[in-house]
Structures are given as structure tokens and as C-alpha cells.
């Protein structure tokens, strides 16, 4: 029980939830408009790489973050084009993007930075401790020395919920993900709404990648996302395709990882602990959370026959 009173456990929980929550909410945007998106892993890698590269070149981590968003937006725009305009199979396409993301970032890392990897002088995003929060009991544990992106994530969760469920554009995006034909006859532009969803999703996924490279570190490693894009996919489904649900699921996975870290050296095998989040993924998806229903037109391309 002492482990539960360890502030690092809770700070770690929140910190490890960030690279899951961003892509999970990103995926929610994409799938709510009806495009199945399993490309989060690849887009995160691209985001992570360009965040470091631009942060190094410009000397500003903020410009690095912007570059990550731009790169993520660009990759997802290509994904959107293939998925929406030429109606390619979205799962196969998503896997292609994942391989592409892993390959291109490894290639660019070697060609640009050589075998020594990204320079150690690369600036990273600031860590923030809000004094007012840090002294609140329990809550303070969470917010001790966190990346600025942690606070951005909290804002994104709330903003995404408001956007999807309380704006006219959000209603339209959801409608297109449920029944594009009905939306079309009412004068909505199905393709444009789907592009919007996929690209917002790509940008958010890339921010999740940037958090790994310039949020908690200041370097890029080959395949540094280590399957987080897929856990994010599980978090999205676990969270029933909602921002708050995705965030909650991300917190749960973050807790599992953080618990693994906190228990290290406690005679529990490390490998077993490292398995915890993945085991939890399977348990969660195997029905622990009850049925969740995907948007009705998720994964089905819309081709108006005119």
C-alpha cells in the first residue's frame, strides 16, 4: 500500500497518459466522421521526429511542436485523400502509414543526424509546476513538475468534448460518421467533414509523438513510440469514441505503466510489470467495459453515385 502513497506513482500516471490521450482523442475525431484510423502509431513517430529536428534547427521547442503538428497534419492529409477520395481500405492504409512512419523516421535520423542520434543540446518544452496546485493534497502529487503539454492535454480533452457534442460542426461531423447518405441529402459536404476529422486527428496524434521526443526527453529514437499508437487505439474504443472516455482510458493505462515503474526492485519481475498495460488492454477490450458501439458508418467510404 505504501506504493499508492508515492507521489511519483501519480505524477507518472498523468505523465504516461499524455502520449496515449492525444492520439486516442485524435482517433476519436477521425472515427467519429467515419474513417477508421489505425495510423496513430506512424503519425506519432513522424511527429516525434520532426519535433526534435525543428527544435534543434530553430533552437525553439515551440517551433518544434508546430513542425510536429504540420508534419502530422500532412501525413494524415495523404491518408485522408487515399481513404476518402479513392476509397482505399482504411485498415490496410493505416498499416501502410505505420510502416512508412517507422521507416522514414529511422532513415531521416540516420541520414541527417548520423549514428550519434539527435544532439544533446536540443531544447525541450518547459516543465511547469503550478504552485497553487502543487500544495493541494493528493492533487498536488499529480501536477508536480509536469510538461506544459500535460496542461495542454487537459484543455484539449475539454475542448474536444465541447467541439464534438456542443457545436454545429461537431454535430455534422458525427452525422457524417453515422449515415453519410442522409447527411449528403441534407446538403452537408461529406468529404470535407471527413477530411476535417482525419486531419484534426493527425495533428493531435503528432502532438502525442512530440510529447515523447521533446516533452519528457530531448531526443528521438528509432521506433520510440513502442506501440503506444495501438494502445491509444484501444483507449479510444475503451473510451467509447468520446474525448472524456479516451482520457479516462489513457489514465488507466498510464497508471498501469506507472505502477510497473514504481514496483521495480520490489522482487516483482520487471518484464511482468512491463506487461501490465498490454494485459489491461486485452482485458478491457474483452468486454470488461461492456459493449461499446462504433459510429455506424465507421470504415465505410462514401462514394456518391452521381
Amino acid at each position: 500500500m505504501t506504493v499508492l502513497a508515492n507521489p511519483q506513482l501519480w505524477a507518472g500516471t498523468l505523465s504516461l497518459a499524455v502520449p496515449l490521450a492525444f492520439p486516442a482523442i485524435g482517433g476519436t475525431f477521425s472515427e467519429r466522421t467515419g474513417v477508421v484510423n489505425i495510423a496513430m502509431e506512424g503519425i506519432m513517430l513522424v511527429g516525434a521526429f520532426f519535433a526534435v529536428a525543428c527544435s534543434h534547427w530553430t533552437g525553439s521547442a515551440w517551433l518544434g511542436l508546430l513542425a510536429a503538428m504540420a508534419a502530422g497534419g500532412l501525413v494524415s492529409w495523404v491518408f485522408a485523400w487515399a481513404a476518402i477520395r479513392i476509397a482505399a481500405d482504411q485498415v490496410v492504409l493505416g498499416m501502410a502509414i505505420n510502416f512508412f512512419g517507422a521507416g522514414i523516421t529511422a532513415f531521416l535520423l540516420n541520414t541527417i543526424f548520423g549514428y550519434n542520434g539527435t544532439p544533446t543540446t536540443t531544447p525541450s518544452l518547459p516543465m511547469v509546476t503550478i504552485p497553487a496546485l502543487a500544495h493541494v493534497p493528493v492533487l498536488g502529487w499529480f501536477f508536480h513538475q509536469q510538461s506544459i503539454l500535460v496542461y495542454l492535454m487537459l484543455a484539449v480533452v475539454i475542448a474536444s468534448h465541447w467541439f464534438l457534442f456542443h457545436t454545429r460542426l461537431g454535430l455534422r461531423m458525427r452525422a457524417v460518421g453515422e449515415n453519410p447518405l442522409a447527411a449528403d441529402t441534407l446538403g452537408l459536404n461529406v468529404w470535407r467533414l471527413r477530411y476535417t476529422g482525419v486531419i484534426i486527428g493527425g495533428i493531435l496524434s503528432a502532438v502525442g509523438g512530440a510529447y515523447l521526443s521533446i516533452g519528457i526527453l530531448n531526443s528521438f529514437d528509432v521506433n520510440m513510440t513502442n506501440g503506444r499508437g495501438y494502445i491509444a487505439l484501444a483507449a479510444m474504443i475503451f473510451g467509447k469514441w468520446t474525448p472524456f472516455g479516451s482520457f479516462g482510458a489513457a489514465l488507466l493505462f498510464g497508471f498501469a505503466s506507472s505502477l510497473g515503474n514504481a514496483l521495480q526492485g520490489n522482487q516483482v519481475p520487471t518484464d511482468l510489470l512491463a506487461m501490465l498495460p498490454y494485459a489491461l488492454t486485452i482485458l478491457a477490450l474483452a468486454g470488461l467495459v461492456g459493449r461499446s458501439t462504433a459510429p455506424a458508418a465507421d470504415g465505410i467510404p462514401y462514394l456518391p453515385n452521381r
Binding site: T167, R168, A175, L188, A296
Partner: protein, 511 residues
């Protein structure tokens, strides 16, 4: 008087088909105007032209005296044309209000949900379309969903309403309620265009009717002066036998004997509660009832698709209550399910594969585990010839056939097995007059050949004209069994609501 909506000499051709050939139609303000025609007569094409889904090759469409050039449904909606499609364009996961206002939501960036609910509520009061604006579409009955579609049209300020086969999926009650709505709209001066292939409905609701046949508008007549026979003849282009000529039945032994049967449905509710009846060789036993009263669970249980919770089913004296569907088939039972596309056929398979679906394991269709294509092909050709399936190409995929021909293929397959008992559920649903006539004839022929036929239909007229005895089911119980010779429409209709007729009838089964 200037017509409200006028179609003048409109022609629309598709590769190989002249779908609309110099079609004319004039809809007056405040009238209910029906378009009557068989499937494939060009009704849908005409509607799509009016709604902007297609553009005419020649001719013009005029609305309130002005020529219209709709490029898309958006243009038509903007001009005041409201359309309720046969297959609803609704989003089940959203609420009624969300669905109605979608595309023209109140609010600026924020979606003003309260205002949407308020507006939809006001509309539903104005047009007497009672429905809760905050309910999820997915939880509503088909009839209520249709109201939402009508509300959608009026939210967009429709000046004319087009209803495409609106009663196809409705229960008799819902149909009557829809007619109430249409009458109310008429009293408000809103013209309604009513597309249908059902004669009795057209006669019940329309002021005038335009009959279409083979892509042309044959004639427009006032409903008041036209008999059903005249309309049917206009529609089909030849004399149609509306009343079925049949000899009195000569029933033999009891082939199917159902005793105190109870069945639990998919929703864990008891849907059939102790039903007893028998079907004899050489008779058609019709099961009448309003949709959802357990009739389909009952036939599914007889066919072996639902478990028997209580009671027994005997086929020719043998207890088959717990046999698998395949074993029942082997005992001489055949089943024509109500959803021909879902349960009756494999749409992706060709007709040869579909005709041997039940017997592909047996000679001559397979030997030592290998399918024998040639015998199957010959068999299919023979059946297609006998049942007049068109086009007569056994290698077509089942999905490419019209509904009537699909039904003929299923009936041919089941009948070719010389069953002792044939169960038919909704055999003519969605078919046109010509096809219905053919199916009915075949059922009578089977009966005369000594087959026991159990017929379930939601069309009361079909039950009345085909059956020898009629069982009426209500809330999972058989209310009464009456002889079809003496039964009247009103009597059966009353029984369908669960009301026992005063005085009783000649053979009453207490259940």
C-alpha cells in the same frame, strides 16, 4: 387552373433502358395525387427527377408555373420539395431534433440544442405529427421514424410532400395514422404525391391517380370513378385476376400438428404462449395478425429456427419438436422465409448454387464430396422454365434479379422438393400485381396437389383470398380459428385486435 407541380413530356434514358418516356403529371394545389404502377414502371425514376437526383434528358418540370432545373436534391429542397424516401435517411444514434435540424441547425458556432427541440416541438404540433424531439431515433418504431422524415421536410419549408412507397414497412395501424396525417396536410392545402403499387391504399387516400406502365404515364383518373379492377388492368396492361379462382379444398390427414406451443423470442420474452392448431394435407391455413404478435416466432419454431419452450410439434405423426432444421427438412418440410434477401437466398451466389442450397449434399448434385455442376444446372433450368423466372439465365447472381423473380426462385427450390408441409411467410411482400398473381396461383396449385400449406402474411387480403381456414394470432395466443368461406374482413380485423367475436364461430379452439 395552374398546376402546383407539373411534369411535361419528361424523358430519361439509361444505357439500354428508357426509364421515363414522355411522362406527364400535374399535381393541383391541395390534392392527394397517387402514382400507381408496378415495380419497374418508372415511378422511382420520376421521383428522382422531381427531387433533383437525376436530370431529365428532355421535357420540363414546373413548380408554381416556373421551370425548374434541379442539379441536386439541395436545389429541390430549397425550392420547397419535401421527400420521404422508402428507405429512411435518418441517423439512429442521434435524437429526433438533431435529425430534423441537421444541416440548418440553430445557433452560431455552438449548436443550440434547446432551440432545436423547441422548434421541432412546435412543428410537430402544427402538423399533428406527435413525436418526442428528445428521443433517440434508434428507439422509435418505423411509423414514428417516418413522422420524423416528414418533419424534416417541413422544417425545410416544404410546399409539397412526396411519399415514396410510404406504407411498405408500416403496420395497418401505422398506415391508418399516416393517412390521418396526409388528410390533415390536405386540409392545410399542402399537396401530397403518393407513390404506391397497392391498389386499396391508393383508393383509400388519393383524389386522383396517375397510372404508370413501362416508363409511360398511361392515364390520370379521379379515384372516385375508378374501380380496383380498372386500375389493376391499367397498371398491368391486361386483365388481371384479382379474386383468385379456386376449388373448395378437400383436406386430408393432419400433416402438421402443433400442441400448446410456447416460444421465447430473441428478446427473452415469451412471444408465443400456448398455441394449438393443425394444418391438413390439401389445405392452406392462413395465420393472420398484426406484426409483432408472435406469428413469425411461431413459424420459426415450426421450422426449427427457434427453440420450443413448451408444447410439441408433430409432422405426420412424428414428434419433431427438438429436431434440427436440417432434420425437419429431411422429414418433408419446406420453408419460404419472410426476408427473401437475407434468409432465402445467398445474393452473391448464382441461381444454380441457390437452387441446390438445401440438397447440395445429395445425389445427383454431389458425388463423393464433389459438386456436380451439370445436373445442378439442368435442374435449375427446368425450374426456371416451369416457374417463369426471368431473365432465364441460371448463371446470373441471385442479387441481380428483381424481387418477384427472387421469390419465384425460392418458391421453385422449396416446391421442387415435394414437401409434405410448406411454410410461407410474407410470400408477396413488396411484389407487384403481376408477380403476386403468379405466386398465388402456384400456392393454390400446391394445395390442390395435396400439400399442407401454412401461410403467414400481414396482408389481410392475401390471407382472405388464399386461405381455407384462418387462425388469428394476438399477443402470442390464437384468438380464434375461422373458416375462410364465411370470414369477413371486419371480423378478422376485430379478432386481430384481440377481441373475441360475439356469438363465436363454427370451430373455436380455446387456448
Amino acid at each position: 387552373m395552374e398546376a402546383f407541380l407539373e411534369v411535361r413530356d419528361v424523358t430519361k434514358a439509361f444505357p439500354g433502358v428508357l426509364a421515363n418516356d414522355r411522362v406527364n403529371l400535374s399535381l393541383q394545389a391541395g390534392e392527394v395525387h397517387a402514382i400507381l404502377g408496378e415495380n419497374g414502371a418508372g415511378k422511382s425514376t420520376l421521383m428522382k427527377l422531381i427531387y433533383g437526383l437525376y436530370q431529365p434528358d428532355a421535357g420540363e418540370i414546373r413548380l408554381e408555373g416556373k421551370t425548374m432545373h434541379f442539379q441536386s436534391p439541395r436545389d429541390a429542397i430549397r425550392a420547397g420539395i419535401g421527400m420521404v424516401h422508402q428507405h429512411f435517411m435518418l441517423i439512429p444514434a442521434l435524437t429526433v431534433a438533431d435529425n430534423v435540424v441537421l444541416g440548418e441547425e440553430p445557433g452560431r458556432i455552438r449548436y443550440d440544442r434547446k432551440e432545436a427541440v423547441r422548434r421541432v416541438r412546435a412543428l410537430s404540433e402544427q402538423y399533428r405529427l406527435a413525436v418526442d424531439p428528445t428521443a433517440k431515433i434508434g428507439s422509435l418504431s418505423v411509423g414514428l421514424q417516418q413522422r420524423v422524415e416528414i418533419l424534416k421536410a417541413f422544417y425545410r419549408k416544404a410546399k409539397v410532400l412526396i411519399l415514396d412507397e410510404p406504407t411498405a414497412l408500416l403496420t395497418p395501424q401505422e398506415t391508418e395514422e399516416l393517412f390521418e396525417v396526409v388528410r390533415h396536410l390536405k386540409s392545410q392545402g399542402i399537396p401530397v404525391l403518393f407513390i404506391s403499387h397497392k391498389l386499396d391504399e391508393v383508393r383509400a387516400i388519393a383524389d386522383r391517380v396517375t397510372v404508370m406502365r413501362a416508363g409511360r404515364t398511361v392515364e390520370t383518373v379521379p379515384v372516385a370513378g375508378a374501380t380496383a379492377q380498372e386500375l389493376a388492368n391499367l397498371m398491368v396492361g391486361r386483365d388481371v385476376v384479382l379474386r383468385i379462382d379456386k376449388q373448395p379444398a378437400s383436406p386430408g390427414r393432419a400433416v402438421l400438428d402443433v400442441r400448446d406451443l410456447a416460444v421465447v423470442g430473441d428478446d427473452k420474452q415469451e412471444r408465443v404462449r400456448g398455441v394449438s392448431f393443425s394444418v391438413h394435407a390439401g389445405e392452406i391455413f392462413g395465420l393472420a395478425g398484426i406484426d409483432g404478435n408472435g406469428q413469425f416466432e411461431l413459424v420459426d419454431a415450426v421450422a426449427g429456427l427457434l427453440r420450443v419452450a413448451r408444447g410439441s410439434i408433430h409432422l405426420d405423426g412424428e414428434d419433431i419438436s427438438h429436431l434440427t432444421p436440417a432434420q425437419r427438412i429431411a422429414q418433408g418440410m419446406s420453408y419460404v422465409p419472410q426476408d427473401r434477401q437475407l434468409d432465402g437466398l445467398v445474393l452473391e451466389f448464382d441461381l444454380v448454387e441457390n437452387t441446390i442450397l438445401r440438397d447440395f449434399r445429395r445425389r445427383p448434385f454431389s458425388r463423393a464430396g464433389w459438386l456436380q455442376r451439370l445436373p445442378a444446372l439442368r435442374h435449375t433450368e427446368r425450374l426456371m422454365e416451369r416457374f417463369d423466372v426471368r431473365p432465364r439465365n441460371p448463371e446470373r447472381r441471385a442479387g441481380e434479379l428483381s424481387g418477384g423473380n427472387q421469390q419465384k426462385v425460392i418458391l421453385a427450390r422449396e416446391v421442387s422438393r415435394n414437401p409434405k408441409l410448406l411454410i410461407v411467410a410474407q410470400p408477396t411482400r413488396g411484389l407487384d400485381v403481376g408477380a403476386i398473381e403468379g405466386i398465388h396461383r402456384e400456392l393454390i396449385r400446391l394445395r390442390d396437389a395435396g400439400t399442407a400449406v401454412l401461410l403467414v402474411s400481414l396482408e389481410l387480403d392475401e390471407i382472405l383470398s388464399l386461405s381455407d381456414r384462418i387462425g388469428v394470432i394476438h399477443h402470442g395466443r390464437l384468438v380464434d380459428i375461422v373458416s375462410a368461406q364465411t370470414a369477413t374482413r371486419e371480423q378478422i380485423g376485430l379478432l386481430m385486435t384481440g377481441t373475441q367475436a360475439p356469438g363465436g364461430s363454427e370451430e373455436v379452439f380455446n387456448t
